[in-house]
Amino acid sequence: MIELEDVNKVFRLPHQKKTTLRQRFVSVFRKSTYEKLYALRDVSLKVKEGEFLGIIGKNGSGKSTLLKLIAKVLEPTSGRIAVNGNVAPFLELGVGFQGDLTVKDNIYLYGALLGMSRQEIEQKYDWIIDFSGLERFVDAKLKNLSSGMQVRLGFSITVGVESSILLVDEVLAVGDIDFQEKCYESFKSFKKNGRTILFVSHDLTAVEQFCDRVVLLGNGQIKNIGLAPSISDIYKQETATQKQSIKQSKE
């Protein structure tokens, strides 16, 4: 179960970052100016166990920030977040891999980062390799793999953790069709096993196909929340009217 209560996240974007001593001395007497970016505003949300929740919205609407807060990578500026269960995050197209290590070493490192024990990783190792389809490259350095392959590996490990909550941010955009199909298959089995999934995507067909509920974010606020088809229709209409109004203003 995931519960968010009045969560705010504000990023301070300084107009000029002061990280050296001289800049600091100069700026001590001046008030530092920064742009306040409200990435999330008063977001309250409840996700039930076993729910498949889609999150859609434009770039910069706060989708990734929301997932990062739930993954504890970021801290909320204010508000309360409660997460019941262990979380496996897959954020922003890829994971924290070490390019100089082999695929095998990276599986062990990343598995440990996600909270797995040595035995658990050993048990899951063959499955992960098989799912990622990287049998041939087990001993290759990760940096020599294509970006698509890296994402595949990352996703395979994340899925292999068997966490009760999975956060997925835009994974399907990079994988090839074969891998996308594999992902869809695994999504189906997640649903069966009652795992909670938060799924950020611009692929509305996938969202409609898998998600029980969908959250539409805009400017850091929840604009709409409800069943998948209706919300994605609202989103489509919204973008369509915007396009029209842009056209009209150009004319």
Binding site: T19, A71, V73, N86, L91, A112
Partner: protein, 268 residues
């Protein structure tokens, strides 16, 4: 139930296990990356202090002569211990940038980064000590039972150095000058600590000043333990001063680090 709010502090150490395993994997990873693509690999970590020792030994036993018994042993031990301090503290700051991609994508207790890297350096220190003891036996210096106390000094040094590393690492993302400042400090410290010269050449009135530095006490104490270089640094009072300093630094480092590390993902 894992529960945290923006204000509550009880957000780590709950809900996740296997931190020990993660620390070990990270230490091994650091080790592998560090010596990747170099022909001599790990040998470098043993060669570096030895080469430094060779250079300094040449200068200070051939060109200049100190009146120190067993100068070889005296010098080598000082260099090994100081190198450990320099390596861990300077590494701790570079570390975060290498780990930025991980920090931005997964949550795990951030202290693991610093502890893991300190373990890698600790392994180097212990292997250096093996080389040291081989030379020690070869040089035919009288063996004392007080050598056991060296382990105590190493433990004290480790706590102190990790505390320093946590503190420096915590400040680094918001205040990057600290890396340059600390580099100069390490240089300065090398010369104001009796590492290459005997304390006897320093005028008496400065002794108190020099031994304000707990690392000077640790180095002097370890020498007393191994070769009995005449000082009175084996006494309990010395240990108490060192441990007090080490624990203070560690506590300050730990809390600063845990506070600052909450925004690492944004600052890096």
């Amino acid at each position: 139930m894992l529960l945290y709010t923006a204000t509550s502090k009880q957000r780590n150490l709950l809900g996740r296990r296997n931190y020990l395993y993660l620390t070990l994997v990270m230490a091994i990873t650091d080790f592998k990356i560090k010596y990747d693509n170099s022909a001599l690999g790990y040998l470098w970590s043993l060669l570096k202090p030895l080469l430094m020792f060779g250079t300094l030994y040449l200068v200070f036993s051939v060109f200049v002569r100190w009146d120190v018994e067993n100068y070889k042993i005296y010098l080598l031990l000082g260099i090994i211990l100081w190198n450990f301090l320099a390596e861990v503290t300077l590494n701790s700051m570079v570390l975060l940038e290498g780990k930025a991609s991980i920090l931005k994508k997964v949550y795990f207790p951030r202290w693991i980064i610093v502890i893991a890297s300190s373990l890698t350096s600790l392994l180097t220190l212990l292997l250096n000590m093996v080389v040291f003891f081989i030379l020690f036996i070869l040089s035919g210096v009288h063996f004392r039972t007080s050598v056991i106390l060296l382990a105590v000094y190493l433990a004290e040094l480790y706590i102190l150095v990790v505390g320093l590393a946590l503190l420096l690492c915590a400040l680094y993302p918001k205040f990057r000058d600290i890396h340059h400042i600390w580099e100069v400090f390490v240089q300065l410290g090398f010369w104001v600590t009796p590492i290459i010269y005997p304390i006897t050449i320093v005028p008496e009135k400065y002794h108190k000043l020099i031994f304000l530095n707990p690392v000077a006490r640790i180095i002097q104490g370890s020498r007393d333990a191994v070769i009995g270089s005449g000082g009175d640094f084996l006494c309990l009072k010395n240990h108490i001063i060192i441990i007090a300093a080490a624990v203070c630094l560690f506590v300050v480092g730990w809390f600063t680090y845990n506070k600052m590390s909450r925004s690492f993902a944004e600052d890096l």
